[in-house]
Symmetry: D2
Subunit: 343 residues, 4 copies
């Protein structure tokens, strides 16, 4: 089968053929139909610090997908050949305290497809039956391929109710923009986004933001305050992982407010812990992955009623073979979400 492979410990990816895997006892074999390219995939392409430590080539990358079931491991029940499914790419251990208490998303022995084992930029994928998510017919393939990143956004937005509240979002990448769309549909009374990339700022408005700023805008903090009754936003969704965004967001956050933080900074941060956190009496909720499978039910409900708002953020649908164009677009900051489609 054709796969996109991190073949060796250096920049770039390789397209080549490897044998179709065979499903283990509790696994299913999927024919992949469509895959999203994630920022993580770009990091692996670039062979940055993080990926050079975490990835052991050769590995097939990719973890956002939709496909259909073509073969069942011999102990698999409750799944049928031919079913169309998406996949939770975090393979949790299933036996630890976290897995036994509904917190598999923070299992310490998790393996991630496309990172720690072969992923979905491939014609076929073997995956644990328990990680398979049947997709309703009403959700088309190119949207169903995005359960993973829309789920990240959903997990973040659902961590603290936004209905009737003002929300600041830092970072208008795909997940930040999905978060804006979800916050909008969940009744946020005002959505403000901060994003340095000029291509993405108009997308933020399309996603539902009431106002969008660049970090370098003059008097940015004053403007955000005047947009939030002088008190700052009630909710801060941190989707960028940048020091400045985190500093600005915590500084602006209203006393007693809640910061839901998903972005991953590449190195340690400096914070004014006393003034920006303790004295303000805020709460910070850190978000990792998707709740299994609460987030999936929520994401499915969202996809069933808000396809257009997701569609708008899929800036490119490319044939699988044109993956290099996809990575080019993302490197240049000229895309939000790109979906690779199999013939």
């Amino acid at each position: 089968m054709k796969v996109i492979l991190k073949d060796k410990p250096s920049r770039g990816l390789t397209c080549k053929n490897i044998p179709i895997p065979e499903p283990g006892e509790h696994e299913v074999l999927l024919r992949v139909k469509a895959s999203g390219i994630c920022g993580t995939d770009v990091h692996i392409y670039d062979w940055d610090d993080w990926s050079s430590k975490r990835i052991h080539p050769p590995v097939v990358i990719g973890h956002e997908l939709v496909g259909y079931v073509v073969e069942l491991g011999k102990s698999v029940r409750h799944i049928d050949i031919g079913q169309r499914v998406s996949v939770e790419g975090h393979i949790a251990c299933g036996h630890c305290e976290f897995c036994r208490t509904g917190q598999a998303h923070i299992c310490r022995d998790v393996e991630i497809i496309g990172v720690d084992r072969n992923g979905c930029f491939a014609e076929y994928l073997c995956i644990d039956a328990g990680n398979v998510w049947p997709v309703p017919d009403a959700i088309p393939d190119h949207i169903a391929a995005l359960f993973d990143p829309v789920g990240n956004a959903m997990h973040t937005v659902m961590a603290e109710p936004v209905a009737g509240k003002s929300v600041l979002i830092t970072g208008a990448g795909a997940v930040g923009l999905f978060a804006a769309a979800i916050a909008k549909s969940s009744g946020a009374s005002k959505i403000i986004m901060i994003e340095p990339n000029a291509y993405k700022r108009p997308k933020a408005r399309e996603a539902g933001a009431d106002s969008v700023f660049a970090p370098e805008d003059e008097n940015l903090e004053d403007i955000v305050l005047s947009n939030t009754g002088g008190l700052g936003p009630q909710i801060f969704l941190e989707m960028s992982g940048h020091q400045d965004a985190i500093t600005t967001g915590l500084h602006l956050l209203r006393n007693g407010g809640c910061a839901c933080v998903l972005g991953i900074p590449p190195k340690p941060l400096t914070l004014d812990w006393a003034n920006d956190i303790v004295f303000k009496g805020i709460t910070i909720k850190a978000i990792n992955g998707r709740r299994m499978y609460d987030t999936w039910f929520q994401t499915q409900n969202f996809m069933l009623r808000n396809q257009e708002s997701i569609n708008r953020l899929i800036t490119h649908r490319l044939p699988f073979d044109h993956y290099e164009s996809g990575f080019d677009l993302l490197h240049n900051g000229n895309a939000v979400k790109i979906v690779l489609e199999m013939k």
Copy 2:
């Protein structure tokens, strides 16, 4: 009346006589019976960075007290002459969004007695009638003087239920030790404390800690992990404000755990935001003051049933005039809580 005054912008305090104040329309005049010395008072004594910016001498310091009502402003109702009371020393504005939604403890226009206006190291104190807390007879004066600091500890411990959970506390000052006593009585399954001061570590055991460590103890992190099933504590109560304590505590905190943070670092911190916060999916709850007046009801219930555990942490009861001895003891780290008693 005799008062302890920050008289001028330099180190030290002065005892002198000033006129007895008169209660405003909505205020009461109290005869002070006993006062606790707080770490904040020590900072003011020392004229450190923070106090030199915040304090405008001359000001009577002190904010932990019990006393009795001797005069009522003309619009005061529901309070009687002779009533024994403690006092919430944070005077909130009463009109802002925070004050109108049960969050007066994070009002941005708060004034604090003994900091922004005259405090309770004095024979008499004028205070808003709404900030007065009637004290049941069963709580003796030297304990009733401590509603404020025990309330800080209560607010922190109540922020996340501890029953049946393992708790790490960094900092065995008075508030940290009160927190240990409260966590113990609230059913924590294990309490571990970290404290650099050798005088205070045995107090931690008396307060209810199962094990107590110094920051410099060899293999400290491994030992804490082995005491918490290899996963780290489920709750982290940060009562020190030290960079190292915050780093260690967040690093040890179990995935999905909750950090309740009260300690005030004197300057910005460096944190491994990605590994110690985001990936672990933890929650951080910042604590300021006491909830008005939820925390006071909780503190009163605790004082009614756990006097001995508070008593044990009052290492010294001194006559009001001997306040310099009290500050000496605190400067040398040879005291936990000191109460100054009026004749």
Copy 3:
């Protein structure tokens, strides 16, 4: 001044003139501009069981209003002559445990305007300064008069987050319909309403319900189940106070779901506690009044962005003098919300 009065202990109301009241020390005098008629007012008109026990004539009725400040009591601060305001009609004691812990809405010594003391169906109203809510200019009078009933709906819907969840609402009176509009704008994934009155059912669709049923519809329970994945709705908002509605709603509610109940049954109920409550592991949250003043901030944010959805439910705007027509319409079930307007 002209007022609508419950003059004697029998059916009906009287319009007559009484002296303009004078504001007490902490009160303001308002010129009333517009008032909503509430179901409670209809009960008082009818002199039903409840009102004959609770009401002591003569009393001016009415508790939903907007007006402007014309006089200040001598201790009033922070309010200006001429300010346009709505009013929280529950006068809580201010001193009990509930009032001191942000729960004034369940104060046991509450007095309600238009019930326990003179209300707002009058040219002027005296009210405690602390119960006054300044209204932004962008909210017109006939909508601002409805902070009270929209607030009841808001309190109910906000009691449990609805974003992405299926919601069943029993009772399409004004408050039930406001609840539908709020649930819709807060991201409910599906809204189902049950209402016996044929005039009100189309209003339910206008308010945002996806489907609306009559209690007598054949196979009602099966249809609701098939509309909610076979599992029943995740949220049940009980706005009717009818035995059958409560029984049906609890029976349909999904295992682990949440019922937020506001409707007041006139007499005791019979429930299948074991099967409809305990075994299903549900939560029931009882709702009374509006949170002071969290609900008011939420309601204001909603009014600022959703005027049309409220407007649609104000079926009649009548001159104050035509109040009898208003009560006629409500008695016949041919109105949702009626606003009486002063010249």
Copy 4:
């Protein structure tokens, strides 16, 4: 193997020999060491209404146990022969929305051992590997046999934090008494119990209750109020399933309080929904089974630190063969928890 069997659809139980079962692919075979007798077992013995509808004889009864693993199904991993274990007796389907969102305890397709399939009053038991709970050595057999009922109590008490709050418990059966012990160790400020059985009332005090009343005590409601500051208890734990207990408890519960209800009434109830629920703004949390496996971790932590408080409530330890004596004692109300021990 020897088993205690509901052999036919009538009163009583039979001890006889049946073949040792063989573990399925995902099951383990346990040698049972000790079993608790539950109230449910007494209902089945009596062949009451409920059991005559639910039970299909012949079935081995019993669902509280400790034992050790003697054989593994061929797909079982992570469990070893010889391990000492307790068992979650609710076999959830594993595939429904509840099971996939950490709510397996309310799975609608649950099967319960000793009710819907053979249970643990037997020398051997086959059980799904996922339902096995390894027991630390420090917990002796006769206590480890009680994970199920102590877990019911734990689930109820943990549903709403009790630290610093007053708690009313109706029903001093084994689970009610375990709840008292857990509430005590979790920092409840006051525990009041109501129980009609004179044998059990002194046990309530031993378990940690501050005061214990009979339902027929004169002025019961006044006394409870005067014990709770005139406002009633803040938490109500309903462990009896009796109409009168539920009525009394809801009536006494403080405004804004929380009722956690586990008891199962045999038939529908009558409630003053308006006055005892809606106007008071209370919350009702219905409790079913044990959270899988949050409750188990909590229960284990409790057992490790509070063995004596459980021990005190195990009034009888009998040889397995003497089970009829156990049922006699329970029928006569002269026992709390009885453990049957295998040789």
